[in-house]
Subunit: 244 residues, 2 copies
């Protein structure tokens, strides 16, 4: 009702990355140690502000992926997760952060060769443990990212993003087991995953070796949505059994 001309407020826009991968059969997330002062010394997700006012948000995510994690966005899964913009989440001002979820195949063991050499793969249970100091609201962002990954394994082909271009069915099973934190029957998994239309396709008559019978290789199939979905076993929440 005032006579003054109202102008909308401006905010600082940032992107943050939840980068997940599988190492040592565990789900791990990439964390960096902050070198500057809001939360200096605490662990944080890779990320940063928009470089300039013309930069697209997905481009900013890809740039941070390269700068802070040394990963090439080409060929790795990257999707928008959510927005975090609570006033006061960053003491430098009104910062609104767009979080992205990235899935990296297991190959790039060393993350080095990057600006921020202080980046480590951290098992998710360690990253979320009570004693871990995480900057800003990054703990919540990690929780949301993991939950997104868990959920999308059911209905999409996201699991293949954790694997090399060619993979065995056992490797794919390890993805499901690590992300869902369950154990699955290899024989049922084998048939199930092959019965889902367009999920995986045979990759040549090739083979691989470890110390048993060689396994067939597969690639990601043409379909990204799974019909029928993979079903997540009920969590061992209440396994109380009434004796007969």
């Amino acid at each position: 009702m005032g006579a003054d001309i109202w102008t909308p407020p401006t905010v600082l826009l940032a992107v943050d990355l939840v980068i997940l991968t599988l190492r040592d059969s565990r789900l791990q997330v990439l964390l960096v140690e902050r070198g500057i002062d809001p939360h200096r010394g605490a662990l944080a997700l890779p990320g940063g502000f928009l470089s300039d006012v013309t930069e697209d948000i997905p481009s900013a995510a890809e740039r941070e992926l390269a700068e802070e994690a040394g990963l090439d966005a080409a060929g790795l899964h990257l999707e928008q997760l959510s927005v975090y913009g609570t006033p006061g989440r960053d003491p430098r001002g009104r910062v609104v952060s767009v979080a992205y979820l990235a899935i990296a195949p297991r190959l790039p063991e060393p993350v080095a060769g990057t600006d921020a050499a202080n980046a480590w793969w951290t098992p998710t249970d360690v990253a979320l443990a009570d004693h871990t100091r995480l900057a800003f609201d990054h703990r919540q962002i990690i929780v949301d990212g993991i939950e997104r990954a868990r959920s999308k394994l059911e209905s999409s082909a996201l699991a293949t993003a954790f694997c090399s271009p060619e993979f065995t069915i056992t490797e794919l099973q390890q993805v499901y087991e690590a992300v869902w934190d369950v154990t699955l029957d290899p024989r049922n998994f084998y048939r199930k995953v092959q019965s889902v239309d367009g999920f995986i396709v045979p990759a040549g008559p090739t083979r691989k070796t470890e110390n048993g019978r060689p396994a067939r290789l597969f690639r990601a199939g043409p379909h990204t949505v799974l019909h029928p979905p993979m079903t997540r076993p009920p969590r061992p929440a209440d396994m109380a059994r009434t004796p007969a």
Copy 2:
């Protein structure tokens, strides 16, 4: 590498609302006619800029819900959808919009009594028809909102948000049929929906009437995630049948 001090760019932050409801057994979305000049006269989603730099983003969504749609945020489903921030999407500057998905029960037939009396419920197929002029990238936002609703009907109790606090199983079925654009067998739906633990609970020995046998009333149950999920029938994409 320059010696100048770099400062991050600022953006304008907006919220946009995809408000869905069920009217005449059709899925409808609330659209407003724009009265000011970027896209003046075109249809748009209700929404607007952050009121001031201290306003929380969900609060802004609730405020716009009241101001532009005349709806009370209390007791209606509201969830963050996605972020839209392509440079150039708004000629007024770098505008980043946080889209929200709201689900309104069918009761409030008139949306009137609000600032913007130029708001109409529009069937989603009409809103997305080729001849409809939608402002900004709101067409894409609507598509994303509908897809989110379709998806969440499977695994969550979102369908109850389309209903009055007390509802019959047939009403709930109509929600699924309208949002998914399918027809379901009432008898199988009846048993299925009751077998899902915590989805719906009986609401007293009450009853309701129309022109047949009175139906039992239910309320939303305690669980918001459905185990097992409701399964969406395969779309009638390729129903080609090979004759025996």
